[in-house]
Symmetry: C2
């Protein structure tokens, strides 16, 4: 029988709010069994870029990663946020380790083709070092990943945090029954974006296609849900979208995704 | 019989110069056997503090670590420098892992007493997690430490990189025959600070006391040499001070320290 594993991704809203972060750290440390954390941090990186007067270039709402931008995200994600989380977890008797994809050669990626759009130093995951990660889990060390990978040739690459979470969950599903949770600022996928209570509690692929076609689901939810279905189609056992309250033992409103 | 281990500390001069860093990475990756890297990065952190208009406060030439300073060093040391080194080592077929002392609870420290001087978020090493480090070495993963430790209660602490190197070397000497190398911008300890060729090739404690008393050795060399003798007095087998050329297979001028 496979062991159980939680792969939990937190977004900027949790990281940026000290109280929310502390509550999450408490809940995550208390979560029983093996677990992996993936964190974003885009807002803090944008603030840092502003302070350093480094331009943020977007194409179709997506960030272009210049050399300077990559340095900023490396500082903010792999340095500031990662180590703050790891130190706080240690304070809750949860020994953790903050990793980029270069560390332990844990996430190998390929620089994205410059055709049709040159996104700069952006990478797409090609391999996850499951043996390395499993070994940490067996030693009761909780991996904390930021969304930075590497190409194995000396170059760090910026990678979408939702995608990193999905790829880690998929890779680990060979060895574990994996639950992937995307924690963000909303209670789940909403029927009406202006009504926080209009959570779609169960969403399957057919419904998703319908809601996408009629415009109910749009913008940032589309790539997130694409990652959800991609994970489920590749042996991840369970995928949920909602707030960090999903970690509580009491049942909570969220969106359960199914194929 | 104990295995051999190299503990190598590089200073800001290597990190700040891309060509020197690349050469060092090449040599370090090629160094046979088990090895640990400790890096500084103070100059880059000072530059970043300047850019972010965060004041650098010094007392007796020593940095006071305010909350903002700690955030900057965490970004620069544990983020930018650490991940750049790890990615570059991976490009030379050396799988490495960039660590702060919070990661894997590897370096536990105690916040320094505010009496007689309040140095801010500065920590003194109280424990090195040798089992964790040895396990990485056995898996052929090279630990790369920055000079940030933690107090085990959720707080990161700034720690002198030379001291971190000495404490790691001492702790690992229970299990390994350890050589500690301090690489910096000079060829070794100099008889005359204005003559780069005046290297004292062997320095023992009695000579050190004499040279300290007559003012030949002063300023930044004093704490560095204190770390050297502290390491030798605590089972570290060999301690050398010089440039990164000490890593070359050919014999090179440097200062060999002995008790």
């Amino acid at each position: 029988m496979k062991g159980k594993l939680h792969v939990i991704k937190i977004g900027g809203n949790v990281i940026d709010d000290p109280k929310m972060l502390d509550r999450f750290i408490h809940d995550f440390a208390a979560l029983e069994g093996q677990k992996i954390l993936i964190h974003g941090g885009g807002k803090l990186a944008t603030q840092m870029s502003d302070q350093l007067q480094i331009p943020v270039n977007l194409v179709d709402g997506r960030r272009i990663t210049s050399t300077e931008n990559l340095e900023v995200v490396t500082m903010v994600y792999a340095g500031l946020i990662s180590k703050k989380i790891v130190a706080k977890l240690a304070g809750h008797q949860c020994t953790a380790i903050g990793l980029s994809g270069a560390d332990g050669n844990s996430i190998l990626a390929e620089k994205r083709s410059v055709i049709p759009t040159d996104f700069g130093w952006v990478g797409d995951v090609v391999d996850v070092n499951t043996a390395f990660i499993e070994d940490l889990l067996n030693k009761k060390i909780t991996p904390v990943f930021c969304a930075i990978s590497h190409d194995g040739q000396g170059q760090l690459l910026n990678t979408n945090a939702d995608t990193v979470a999905a790829e880690i969950a998929i890779a680990m599903s060979e060895r574990y029954d994996t639950t992937l949770m995307y924690c963000f600022e909303k209670n789940g996928v909403l029927q009406d974006v202006n009504d926080a209570q209009s959570v779609i509690t169960h969403l399957d692929y057919a419904q998703y296609e319908t809601l996408k076609a009629n415009g109910t689901i749009h913008d940032g939810m589309l790539p997130k849900l694409k990652n959800c279905f991609h994970a489920l189609a590749n042996n991840v056992k369970e995928v949920k979208v909602g707030t960090t309250a999903m970690l509580d033992k009491q049942p909570i409103i969220c969106t359960q995704i199914s194929l």
